[in-house]
Symmetry: C2
Subunit: 200 residues, 2 copies
């Protein structure tokens, strides 16, 4: 029986996960070191390994936490709702996720870029099943003439790409825009884009 976590344990675990998110999201799994994470968490390396048994364990905990929240916005797409409004709302939720959780977005991007060795089976099963389900909903809307006829898979990919871009390529976006804030303009642009695309 493990005892309930003390305040110190909770604080240190949270500090390690936040530090791990900082480092892993920037350098990927192999490019990150425990020294960096321990330093960012304000702990010694052996002390860090007292809380998580290995580098893998920290990374796995972060991916678990991420995947739980990552599919939610698409899950919430409601087949009973107004088609255009539902898709616009989905894009808006994903954009908010990029704005509020950019490190999580980059952690995911790094994992995919490296060939998704730790989550490929989840992508092939859970993600594929969810996308297939929602693509069928969107296809149904198109068949019923409620939205313009578009390939539902590429529509979903486009929402992923357009929203995650602002988190994953943040450095490039800021290099081009300078001081101007990206997300207000992005929200307006995406709203217009999908409104025009989807209106039958």
């Amino acid at each position: 029986m493990t005892k309930p976590a003390t305040r110190i344990q909770k604080r240190n675990q949270a500090a390690i996960l936040s530090a791990g998110l900082d480092i892993f999201s920037q350098y990927g799994f192999r490019g990150s070191t425990l020294d960096q994470i321990a330093d960012a968490a304000g702990l010694s390396k052996p002390n860090l390994l007292y809380y998580f048994s290995s580098k893998e364990a920290i990374h796995a905990a972060l991916l678990d936490r991420l995947l739980a929240d990552w599919l939610d916005p698409l899950q919430a797409l409601d087949a009973q709702g107004d088609p255009v409004r539902e898709i616009l709302a989905y894009a808006k939720r994903k954009l908010a996720l990029s704005k509020d959780y950019p490190r999580e977005s980059r952690l995911f991007a790094n994992e995919i870029l490296q060939g998704a060795p730790r989550i490929e089976s989840i992508l092939r099963h859970d993600l594929k099943a969810l996308v297939d389900e929602k693509a069928a909903v969107i296809q149904g809307w198109a068949d019923a003439g409620k939205i313009a006829p578009v390939d539902p898979y590429h529509l979903i990919f486009s929402i992923w790409a357009l929203t995650q871009h602002y988190a994953d390529f943040d450095v490039q976006v800021r290099a081009v825009l300078g001081d101007r804030a990206p997300y207000d303009g992005a929200a307006v642009f995406l709203d217009m884009l999908y409104r025009k695309l989807l209106t039958p």
Copy 2:
């Protein structure tokens, strides 16, 4: 005076650069090792370092070669051409780049994700200047009523995001689509998307 490169030198340099592209594009600079690259190139590690003086040198050579080609498709956007046709052609060129040079796209994505430490000044100067110039062209088209009024910066970002997504997130796209080929559907989707968005 260095002698002109022999056939063997050219072949080995090319093999090293191709192997480096394979590895760096997947694991990023820090996550890649010379052992991996030497192995992929079919050379011993000391022999690899006979051709390139350091790990950094291989990576720098790859980034140089990449950046030269990377801005070309936008450069070719012609202010004198037909507005909608020019933008559609740009998107098409970028999608072809993702299809034909996915490793280069992922090398760039890795560099940006890691904070662009080696190319940030290029982004802030050359890239920004080019985007500013072409954004002004697009803004002029919008002001003249030749295309719908859209934010030209977010329009350009959207083309980057939508095309590079198919190279950078290739694993995820294939996990969802299964056997179906991504690029034919993507081309049709993007053509319709930008046609509808830009038509005044």
